[in-house]
Amino acid sequence: MKMNRRNFIKAAAAGSSWFLTLNQLKGSELLPAAKAAPAGANLSRVEARYYDRLPDREIKCRLCPRFCQLGDKERGFCGVRENQDGKYYTLVYGQAASYNIDPVEKKPLFHFLPGAMAFSIATAGCNVACKFCQNWEISQMRPEQVKSHPLPPEVAAETAASYNCPVVAYTYSEPVVFYEYMYDTSLQARKKGLRNAVITNGFINPEPLAELIKAVEAIKIDLKAFNQDFYTNYVRGELKPVLESIKQIARSKVWLEIVYLVIPTLNDKPEEIRQMARWLAAEIGPDYPLHFSRFQPMYLIKNLPPTPVSTLERLRDIALQEGLHYVYLGNTPGHPGENTYCPNCGQPVIERYGYTIKKINMSGNKCRHCQQVIPGVWS
């Protein structure tokens, strides 16, 4: 049985215990009549938002904290936004390099419509360059270098609706770099009663983030580490703007979850995790979920082992000790750390196995056992 919103509510009301069958569909199965264009065939030419025109046909991008200043024919760090004769264009508007149907748990979002399916889309490009990127084959590419599929905003929303996906997710690569496409698709999705979830590194400037917050319902931020050195050496980004984004989102009505990929020896120092947990508790409060995710060797970091589960457990304990209420483990199917526990009575309120919901013990937005309100978007 698919877990849609109705089923979720029904299950919550019944307190039933059942497994979902996750019907993950890959992009090629979603739009059978359409063919992916070969690499290089599709480049959009839609004027970008958030840039300043400068003298001599130069521009300055204001979308992310890099503030790329570019001459004619040059592209930003992201590789998908180009100055053409003094005007700045996004080259990936409506050009999906990847689209799939995933459970929201895969994002991961654990307090946002559990069990819902998310029509998930991505374009080429990213505004950082993580050495451990799991989607580098699209994120670290320019749009000419990947196969893409024309998927305009209205078609994306229509496709999501036609597959009964209550959520459209902007994910896989880095949606900040396809901001215009994401934003317009969000509006189209809303018209159809769908929700929007953004899976991002949070490396975006306050002004575009403020606009984005008005158009979406959930944002998951990958907090890569809690020190600038890691951001410099392994991400090619900056920590401070990401922390500012986290605070900005927490001040809004958009649901926020944070993921921290734990990489052995690189960002797994207990004292740093304690500092991070303290910062989160102090700045945004204890109720936003924090996921510690298990690293698998890939891309440019193949010389380190997968994160020991014991490390994840230790870091989770630290975050809980520091007062965070919802701390999860990721990429550890079957681990009790995947479950949601009521911070009041300690009983499991949502039991999971990987991306699958096993059991829900909630009544509406409350713990079935003690009536404690569990924060999130549940219906």
Partner: protein, 298 residues
């Protein structure tokens, strides 16, 4: 220490009608450049000192500026045909850059025909980039299969330009066009990325010759084309030491900037520091006192 030799050849007759380079003049400049650079009385002997018979030779040109500011076809094709004539096979010479569209916009006629000069972009169907990133220090990139697989020897036939981030762009930075993600390597004046990239065996071990196209030099506000800061310098610059050639290129840009009353690149805080980094990596000489500059006219 032996100084690195860099040869500048000037020609007042470099141009034909309509502001295009004159192929016959180009050939004279190439021949003179190779003679002086190698000390050979016959330019073809100079080429034979640098390249071996039967090698596939790549001419990495710069066409990102498309029709406005790119390596002229008259220059690249003349060099390609001369190489082909010297070594006996046209189809062993590949004139190439990132994309076919940019090549076409810059005036090149694409060609993959057997027996003739090859002119093509990395995005040609069946070519593309290698599947796995090549990593060296700060750089991790997929390499164009043209650079990685199709050629054994390389000439960087680069435009000399001012560059808003790197300071100048010349023969070293030209190889940004051999990788899939140059946009990731423009931080901090492209330093150390340009040097780190060149150090990779796929470039360093194949690179044999740099020729800077300074027929017209964009000495300010580059790398884009701005006619008010574009000087008709009528020069090509030759060198076997890739760092030394670019160092001389930097000097040419600074000379033009000084002549026009513009601040120097260090004053604009965009000194091409990657040249010193390249020297530190053992790739060549970045100090003028270690470079023998010979300037001649044809």
């Amino acid at each position: 220490m032996n100084k690195s030799r860099v040869v500048i050849i000037r020609s007042q007759s470099a141009w034909a009608a309509k502001g295009r380079p004159d192929p016959a003049s180009m050939l004279r400049i190439f021949r003179k450049g190779l003679e002086v650079l190698t000390g050979s009385s016959l330019a073809e002997d100079g080429l034979r000192q640098i390249f071996h018979p039967g090698e596939n030779i790549g001419l990495k040109i710069s066409t990102i500026g498309r029709g406005a500011i790119s390596t002229y076809p008259e220059t690249a094709v003349t060099l390609g045909l001369w190489l082909a004539k010297t070594f006996g096979r046209e189809d062993k010479i590949i004139i190439w850059d990132r994309t076919n569209e940019e090549l076409k916009d810059a005036g090149y006629k694409l060609s993959r025909s057997a027996g003739s000069l090859k002119i093509l972009g990395t995005d040609t169907p069946g070519i593309g980039y290698g599947p796995e990133p090549v990593v060296n220090r700060s750089v991790a990139s997929l390499f164009s299969k043209i650079q990685a697989e199709l050629i054994e020897a390389s000439i960087s036939l680069a435009l000399l330009k001012d560059h808003g981030l790197a300071g100048i762009t010349g023969g070293l930075k030209n190889y940004f066009g051999a990788i899939h993600n140059p946009n990731k390597y423009h931080d901090s004046n492209c330093n150390p990325y340009i040097a780190d990239l060149f150090e990779i065996d796929l470039i360093r071990k194949k690179h044999r010759l740099t020729i800077l196209d300074a027929l017209r030099v964009q000495y300010h506000r580059g790398p884009s084309y701005h006619p008010q800061w574009n000087d008709q310098s009528n020069k090509l610059v030759f060198g076997l030491d890739p760092v030394a050639v670019d160092t001389v290129g930097w000097k040419l840009v600074e000379d033009l900037r000084a002549k026009k009353g513009l601040p120097s690149l260090p004053e604009e805080r965009r000194q091409p520091a990657y040249l010193k980094t390249a020297e530190d990596l053992g790739l060549g000489q970045s100090r003028l006192e270690n470079i023998e500059i010979i300037e001649e006219e044809v």
